[in-house]
């Protein structure tokens, strides 16, 4: 029982982060390898905002998300757009460089000390007994609920809103969209904003539950296989993929070798690349576009 709860909770974090990868990839064909770092940065921003506004999580969290979304938009216009027309991998490496800079800056600004967001936000992470041998904490429930709600919201956004439709169109053929008189850069920037916003959601939830420190960026890298296993172009794929990867990881820890916990997502990834490289919900054509 506890096993499955752990899987679902971990999967919810992975799913939130994978959504960011997918959003960015769909929009600008870039893998954002700084996603984990941006998630961490957002959490540190939340920490700073919470220092100014202690115990007001209702103000801190929206402010953080807004700030994170703005950072996403800024990143697109400053770093990614100038890479248009260059080899795709160069743009990916720009995100790597960005991640390194963030790592350095975080230490410079916030020191390498471990911080606790929960205290500042005045959140008590209580344990709830669901069943005998199965407990879940308040924040874990929040994580699952938020992940599901966010996916539902994103699905509705892409299906029913005009901007969502435009973003789908931009993902397919940005040039054609420009020929129809629409500035696709703005759409890409929105996608980056959304993605970093979701990363901030994941970051705040995860670091409030656990701790805030430089190493949490690693979870961003571990969530990356989720996005790929689900299909880089497919949001819907991220949910089952997150469950699959989380299942592999928790199984590895509990039944095989705890040291495998970092390796498990990548083993799943390798298997996926060999069996179905375009992902659970992707299409083979996707491979050709890379």
């Amino acid at each position: 029982m506890q096993f499955w709860i752990n899987v679902v909770v971990l999967a919810s974090t992975y799913a939130l982060l994978a959504a960011g990868y997918v959003l960015i990839y769909r929009a600008s064909r870039v893998l954002n390898l700084a996603h984990g770092e941006l998630m961490m940065l957002a959490a540190y921003l939340a920490f700073s905002i919470a220092t100014v506004l202690p115990k007001q999580s209702l103000a801190v969290i929206p402010l953080t998300l807004l700030l994170a979304a703005l950072i996403g938009v800024g990143i697109y216009y400053l770093f990614i757009r100038p890479m248009a027309g260059r080899p795709l991998f160069s743009a990916v490496l720009v995100t790597v460089a960005m991640g390194i800079v963030i790592q350095g800056l975080v230490v410079l600004v916030w020191t390498p000390r471990v911080q606790y967001l929960a205290v500042l936000l005045d959140i008590v992470n209580q344990s709830h007994q669901l069943a005998p041998g199965g407990a879940i904490s308040t924040l874990d429930i929040a994580s699952i609920v938020v992940a599901l709600a966010l996916f539902a919201a994103l699905a509705a956004f892409f299906r029913y809103t005009r901007i969502g439709l435009l973003m789908r169109a931009a993902a397919e053929n940005p040039l054609l969209l420009a020929q129809r008189g629409i500035d696709f850069h703005r759409l890409y920037a929105i996608a980056w904003g959304l993605a970093i916003g979701t990363a901030a959601v994941a970051g705040v939830l995860y670091t409030t539950t656990n701790r805030l420190e430089g190493t949490v960026a690693l979870i961003g890298l571990k969530a990356f296989p989720v996005a790929l296993v689900g299909g880089l172009g497919s949001l819907a794929g991220a949910l089952p993929a997150a469950l699959l990867v989380a299942l592999a990881e928790v199984t590895a820890i509990q039944y095989v070798d705890p040291l495998l916990s970092n390796v498990a997502p990548f083993v799943v990834l390798l298997a996926a690349l060999l069996l179905r490289p375009w992902g659970l919900f992707g299409t083979p054509e996707e491979l050709e576009r890379v």
Partner: protein
Amino acid sequence: MRRFLLVGLVILSLMLSAVGCQTTPAPQTGAPTKPAQGEPYRIGVTAALTGPFADTYAPVYEAINVYFQQLNEQGGINGHPVQILVEDDAADATKATSNATKLVQQEKVALLTAATLSATYGSIMNISRSAGTPVLIASVCPTQAYPPADPLVFCPASFGALYDGTAAIRFIKETAKEPVKLALVGIESPIVRTNFDHVTKIASESGIQVVTRQLMPPTATDFTPFATQVQQAGANWVFAWSPWSSQIGPFDALQKLGWKGDYLLWAHQPADEELSRRKVDALYAIAGNALFAEELPVHKQIRAAAQKYKTSYPVEYMAEGWVTAQVLEQTLRNAGWPGGAKAMQAALAKLSVDTQGLRGGPLVFTADNHFRTKAWYKFYRWNSQQNKIVTARDWVGIDVVPSK
């Protein structure tokens, strides 16, 4: 082809010599040396100032730095100031190697101090051995410091693996009210593994059953699965011995799962702060240095120095480095001037340092024991009635004997 090769070599050597020209005359700025005049003692430090374990190791450097800044202003040692040359290795073995090389071979420090992850020790000791420079390890003690000790390796750090485990088991045995089902929690590293093997052995000798052992990857951030294992194994006591994050992380995760049991962890620098933050009576800390909660005179001294020189870490993090600095000071005093590597080594090999209450007794090195003759431990916990950290058990001393 040949032409290209030569041009390449020219570029390479020019670049290198360009770097060379820059470095040779580089003036070294260390501690301000107003009152103490003359040539300084040069002490090298390689420390994990950044990286995943920085909060354990960086404060060690800060304390040493503050200690000697103060000392230099008060006239230095034997009339000479002490210069601390620090290099950051970020707990990375390659960087530690290059730092040690630089400090020993270029800066010609008389003594090398390391406050970093154990994985870097191998190369640091190698370099110290090749130059005959003694090395003072201010993080978890390597086996080379235990008797019979390596002539060049010394360790004043409070935590020392096997003896910590022995003390912990004695404490649990004395404190537990019901039969103990013990879980051991730590990161996957050889030194932790060795300690836990030892703990398992002496636990069974004292009638304590070890129900599970959780060795987690050093980079783990989500401890829920490990906590689940502990809970499902039916443990009612946990002994955690690792870097701070991976001790307190599993504790938080256990709380999250609704586990009710007693949890003993090693009192790294954040212990003061975080015991008070969590306010859980069942959380115990085993300490090698007296916690600041006690407000001893030496604590007040450290507090004053830390405030004066503005450390970036809280004062509660400074005890470990303070003891190292005390050891350094005593060594320099005994070695006299000019105090080369040989003199330092000789001084260290018969050293007795009064820790002013930070430890349970004096820290003594002998010719073949570079760890300490007696290892001292004190136990703390949160007391919610008094709303403060209290002593759970006063200083216990364990005699250090040569292993067979």
